[in-house]
């Protein structure tokens, strides 16, 4: 066992370096910066938790965190659901699979600077869908979420899902194709309706992929930035603001490195607080035995 670890650790060395230098290092640096009064450049002074106090006092930050929660839940659910459905339907030996797959995946390839603008147009009540539908005769059709304080975050969810669902589909598709045909046979024999097989047999078997997708989306959520900037600039007002935009605004435009770092630290702590119990439960379960 000793030797066995050695080989693996040898292979993991680059990762270890990256983690230590790239991540642990920068996290520590960020932590350090967050308790300083750094502006454009990092400063070596110590101002205590002043930045954090300011952050917690800040309406915009509060709002951004709230938006993040709404966006996070909806986006993850929607992207996973739609991605999964697309993968399942594409997996039905359909014609033109390649074209369909590309159709669902292409949004992922396009810079959001432009596609965000298109979404802005499409969702805009004057130029977009609402206008088009009204011209087509549905006079009562209204769809003006993007200019609505309370609804705008949902439009970000729509655009985000549009962009991310394709990748989820690709991941799910790869996982679906990995499931042993015999399992399908057994289920068909058991007379399980196809949807039920997906739900009760296939989905649990895809658990590792689901975990991957979830984590992927979750990191995307926490870092979501360009979607919002390109579509709404955080607006109307700050109605669709998100923490990453707050951080980026302070990092660049507002030259407040310390506050931006404090924001990143708070984000990180929030994430930690959310996943720590999960990780703990998992390790407990593992200790109790069984590979499952």
């Amino acid at each position: 066992m000793r030797r066995r670890s050695l080989a693996a650790w040898g292979a993991l060395l680059p990762l270890a370096v990256i983690v230590l230098v790239g991540y642990v290092g920068t996290v520590l640096w960020t932590l350090r910066t967050s308790v300083s009064s750094s502006r454009t450049f990092p400063k070596d002074d110590f101002v205590g938790l002043q930045q954090f106090e300011r952050l917690l006092d800040n309406d915009r930050w509060q709002h951004a965190i709230h938006n993040l929660a709404v966006y996070g839940v909806l986006y993850i659910v929607a992207a996973m659901l739609i991605g999964f459905l697309l993968a399942v339907f594409i997996d039905q030996k359909v014609r033109g699979e390649g074209a369909l797959r590309t159709a669902f995946l292409y949004p992922y390839a396009m810079s959001f600077v432009a596609t965000g603008l298109v979404w802005q147009w499409v969702l805009n009540p004057d130029s977009g869908l609402q206008n088009a539908m009204q011209q087509l005769g549905w006079k009562d059709f209204t769809f003006d979420w993007i200019v609505d304080q309370d609804m705008v975050i949902y439009t970000v969810v729509i655009a985000g899902t549009w962009q991310g669902a394709g990748l989820v589909m690709a991941l799910m598709l790869a996982a679906l194709r990995g499931i042993d045909e015999e399992i399908w046979k057994a289920a068909r024999l058991d007379g399980i309706p196809t949807w039920r097989v997906y739900l009760s047999v296939v989905l649990p078997m895809m658990a590792p992929t689901l975990a991957t997708v979830f984590t992927l989306l979750a990191t995307g959520v926490v870092k979501v930035f360009d979607t919002v900037v390109a579509m709404t600039q955080g607006g109307p007002g700050t109605a669709s603001d998100v923490p990453a935009k707050f951080i980026m605004d302070h990092l660049f435009g507002r030259a407040n490195l310390a506050l931006a770092s404090a924001g990143a630290v708070v984000l990180l702590i929030t994430v930690l607080a959310l996943i720590a119990p999960l990780a703990y439960a998992r390790s407990r379960q593992k200790a109790k035995g069984g590979h499952a």
């Binding site: 502006r39 603008l117 004057d126 993007i146 200019v147 007002g237 435009g253």
Partner: protein, 388 residues
Amino acid sequence: QPLKAEVIHWWTSGGESAAAKTLAEAYKAQGGVWVDTAIALGEQARSVAINRIAGGNPPTAAQFNTTQQFRDIVDQGLLNNVDEVAKRDGWDKFLPETVLSAIRVNGHYYAAPVSIHNMSWFWFSKAAFKKAGIAEEPKSFDELFAALDKLKAAGLVPLAHGGQPWQDGIVFTATLAHYGGRDLYLKIFRDRDPKAIMSEDFKKVLLAFKKLQGYTDKGSPGRNWNDATAMLISGRAGVQIMGDWAKGEFAQARQEAGKDYGCAPGFGPRAPYIVQGDVMVFPKTSKPDQVKAQQLLASVITQPATQVAFSMKKGSIPIRTDVDASQMDLCAQIGVAAMKDKSRQLGNGEIYMTPDQNGALQDVLTSYWNRNIPVEKVQKDIVNALKS
């Protein structure tokens, strides 16, 4: 051996590129080689410049704004000064005071000014005004409101606005300067005086600001400024408050100032003229030919010919008052004239406040613009935003 200068700037759109080219050509004509590093968006370009300075690979020159952040880098000792050029070319003689005070830190000149923008012009669509039966362009803020009401009555969009925080900020700046007046403007932006902020006068300004919001259309949130300008061009909207770069859009649509659209930096001959400066800074380097290149560049870009050529393409006005403005368009000529009167000049918010304060203020304003918040609370929020 030509003097090679790598310049980071954010003049990337069509008109801006053309303007940048005039600088490059002027520099080349005087024996330099211009190595162009164009990076879209000011924040982005500035951040790259700063990172490259931090990473030990600074450009020869970088576009910057005369902001408090500029003072930050100066304080860090990261810039070379161009005192020699300033003295030799006699900058003190032909640069407006506002510009001089912005680039001069502790008696040294740390930047070469490139252009002057006014980011709060009032633009009027003649077609829309005609439709609404407005004979004359407004000459005061009250007339503006009256015109807006008429436009509204005519079923047009009175105020074309792009609902993005920085555009909200422009409208506010215009309101504060032209409705609140020069003194209040300075008390708020320069002195950040809590008493002034809590004052009745300022409250009126805020209410006027909010009133303007009532003249925007429903689709305004998130809109780009040029889409708003397009509404003026097509005659669907009457008024826009936007920087002088809007001229480019009109020009693109082959509209002419004074004929198809009107422009005003404010109301009346003594109206404040709000100034925002683009400058070049010169990161610290000890390589002799780099220093030479920096000095040559500083000299070239401030020369009158360069200035006129640049401003015509860029839509801005020259930094020096001693140039021949006759070739320039009507709006620019109005600007040049205004710049001659020192008492009319006002810096924009960035000049007086740190980027952080400026941003915090913007956050409060954009919230106020978009939501129904009691004006008293807004006043308090502004006090807070400007405190730090």
